[in-house]
Symmetry: C2
Subunit: 227 residues, 2 copies
């Protein structure tokens, strides 16, 4: 995301009339800020974001089914022609993707919660392990149970990409992070005070979210349909 402006400046002189300019970055407002001044009037900016990928990066990390059954979010600007939206829809549906359409600022708030904040937390807990004394760290690595092992996978993602995501979706990430720290402090206090009821209530209602994810795997939320 940090490279968009330089790329836009370099490519601007070669953009033909009627070209649709899109991208695949994880933040959309910053992408628009970086690109829109350099897109000529005869071309159309239509930012996009496939919710697909692994902790690996680069062309070698691609595989044929990468976009199959995954969401590809499009975030049209006010002046993006509907025709451009239809063209990209056709292209990405051809990859096997499901299409979601939403305003760019809304995209950034949703992704802060579903992707950016979980990555920040995973990086952070793995860093807590890095700071342990060496023998303890070695045992944490050896006996890493499913919780910690899952976090290390996420925390192995590309550092440059993630640095740029956090720098470019600052406000939404900081809002979500503060909510998370507040909620975690409630659990911290409950453990300190031996308050099992609070722990049980939280752990019970979080189960429902998991069920919703499994149930709704194939559904487009109403809000995304409308936009």
């Amino acid at each position: 995301v940090g490279a968009y402006r330089d790329v836009a400046i370099k490519m601007a002189p070669y953009i033909k009339s009627g070209t649709i300019i899109t991208d695949v970055g994880s933040v959309k407002m910053a992408a628009i800020d970086a690109l829109q001044d350099f897109i000529p009037d005869h071309a159309y900016l239509l930012p996009g974001h496939p919710i697909a990928g692994t902790e690996n990066s680069g062309p070698e990390a691609g595989f044929a089914e990468l976009f199959q059954d995954r969401w590809w979010l499009l975030t049209p600007l006010e002046n993006t022609p509907q025709d451009s939206v239809e063209k990209l829809k056709t292209l990405y549906t051809g990859f096997g993707s499901k299409i979601g359409i939403m305003p760019p600022e809304h995209h950034d708030r949703v992704l802060a919660m579903t992707s950016h904040l979980p990555h920040l937390i995973a990086y952070s807990i793995v860093d807590t392990c890095v700071k342990l004394e060496a023998s303890m760290q070695q045992e944490v690595i050896a006996f890493s149970a499913s919780g910690f092992r899952d976090f290390t996978r996420i925390a192995a993602s590309d550092p440059t990409m993630w640095r740029d995501i956090f720098l470019n979706n600052r406000d939404a990430v900081l809002d979500g992070l503060q909510n998370f720290i507040d909620d975690l402090t409630i659990l911290q206090t409950a453990i300190k005070q031996g308050d099992g009821d609070t722990l049980f209530d939280v752990f019970t209602r979080t189960r429902a979210v998991r069920r919703s994810i499994i149930d709704q795997r194939q559904h487009v939320p109403e809000e995304a349909k409308k936009n």
Copy 2:
């Protein structure tokens, strides 16, 4: 873990001479506290903990390969005879498990980091989602990317079991949690200040932990071998 004392009281009168009493709970110091007063002198307490399992619970969640290639940690007390350790080793090796032996208080500190703290964090971030306005929550569920989706799986674990783990491994969990909150605050400050270098450094060193986990998958750490 919260049920140990009652079970111990009920089974105590029926324990024959030479019986080895073991368990499979996620905390060991509290297990010993709950059990040892009720184990007759003619029997041997040898707490254990298989690092295996899924977010599902109960007998129906079992499967034949559950313990295959997984660690089974044994935490002998000072008066546990070596013969009992050998017997359980033989039994669990027969299940396909790898055996690790360590003091119970050490087990509780390692597991706080590898399992208990990651579960607490996963529960907490999913609870942050529960508190979002309904339409936003629906979209977070629909577009949950790999980070958040992984967390919801962990946060669907049994509420009673996890309440009891946190209440019974309080000090080790609270220590780890405070370290985690401190580390997360460093990242929060870096994002606020636009300090990309700090973010990049943290995200780079966490990658090394993932590599260690992949490399050391089959190794017994030296400390566990010695004990």
